[in-house]
Symmetry: C2
Subunit: 206 residues, 2 copies
DNA sequence: GCGCTTGTGTAGTCATGGTTACAAAAAGCC
DNA sequence: GGCTTTTTGTAACCATGACTACACAAGCGC
């Protein structure tokens, strides 16, 4: 239902940028940002470099658009899971379980596109990916802070750390079962950590 | 005290390979394998490419030697911590706490060289790094299996996942305090997971 | 000193990878 | 049908990066 105005004007495009973004998402997810070259992309799209740059500006630009599409499509739906009325520990456990499931769902495109993209070697692409992961971290922290302000940073740090680890383990080829095992183990500590008074980080200092 | 035999034979080296490995370790740890070029290395060593290749064979070869040096120098000493007579949960918690401390100790060289190296784009370098991380994972799994065979894989997966996450968080610049907070939180679940009967991975399947 | 061995310096090769100049093509507008 | 607009295809450019050919230098054994 993309409203398709009368007709743009000049020579019509020989390819569909939206469809290309889907192809790009698959390639970036399978091989990682750095390992996908512009040549790979143009070949997969069936176009030549000038069309690529006219449509997307740069490889990092395409990646930014791809990330936007990914979050609304295949990423962990944090805003849906972290409803304000939901028990905090339970909701966070669901986030971890959902991440495990999604990251291992497609063994050819394992892990989280944003988390993995945040570690690539291109500054622009990295920045785009980090913006997404930072937004996710903020969402988690604010969700916890609404009811447990003092535990928010710690719990958000923990959940994000485990998610990053899960994404890496998924990319190493670990099975869904093993990821789910880690996620469920990680979830067990959430309740306890919430109700722990004065838990401000020095418990392991001895 | 490196026994310095009579004299090697031909023209003497203008540089010390062992010292170069120390320099390489710093560079690789600071910037990551991919982001360090052979030109960077030769410049840092004060030599030219032919000397580099004569001494180390390839960039990945140097990295392999650097990793060996790293494990005996700055890596988490798993074999020392995971003594067979030690309570399992306590020992694993120490591993996590030690990782947090080490990964955040030097903000210019954050995270674990082996864990991060295992995600680089060069197949040979990746293989060398993965051999190390796999050995570490095996050490953890066998340590747990000695007393809790059924929990070994799950606990090893969990500890490794958190360590990978901690390394990533350290590289994002998170403070020592925050990493220690995550590590101590992650450590809280270990005891419970050990004593949980029939905990074989299906708890989150509903 | 002469040959042998080994390391060094100069100056490259070769591939890859992101990006672009330029002219031709394909449509709309009038 | 000409003018304008936008996209396309060919063919590059330019930088980087891993690696090497080759001749010379510097030590040892004799």
């Amino acid at each position: 239902m993309t409203t398709q105005a009368p007709r743009p004007r000049g020579r019509p495009r020989r390819f569909d940028p939206d469809q290309a973004i889907g192809t790009a998402q698959r390639l970036f997810h399978e091989r990682g940002y750095d390992a996908v070259s512009v040549a790979d992309l143009t070949e997969a799209f069936g176009i030549n470099p000038p069309s690529f740059y006219a449509a997307f500006g740069s490889k990092a630009g395409l990646f930014a658009r791809t990330l936007r599409h990914y979050t609304t499509t295949a990423g962990v739906p944090l805003s849906d899971i972290l409803r304000p009325d939901r028990p905090v520990a339970e909701a966070l456990a669901v986030v971890l379980a959902d991440a495990a499931r999604r990251y291992a769902a497609d063994s050819d495109a394992a892990g989280c596109l944003a988390i993995e993209g945040a570690r690539c070697n291109d500054p622009d692409a990295r920045k785009a990916a980090r913006a997404l992961t930072a937004a996710g971290e903020d969402t988690i922290r604010r969700f916890v802070a609404a009811t447990h302000p003092e535990a928010a940073e710690r719990l958000a740090d923990y959940v994000v750390t485990v998610m990053i680890g899960l994404s890496a383990m998924a990319r190493e080829g670990h099975s869904l079962d093993r990821l789910q095992g880690v996620a469920s183990m990680a979830g067990m500590v959430l309740e306890e950590a919430l109700t722990m008074p004065g838990f401000t980080g020095q418990t392991a200092s001895g």
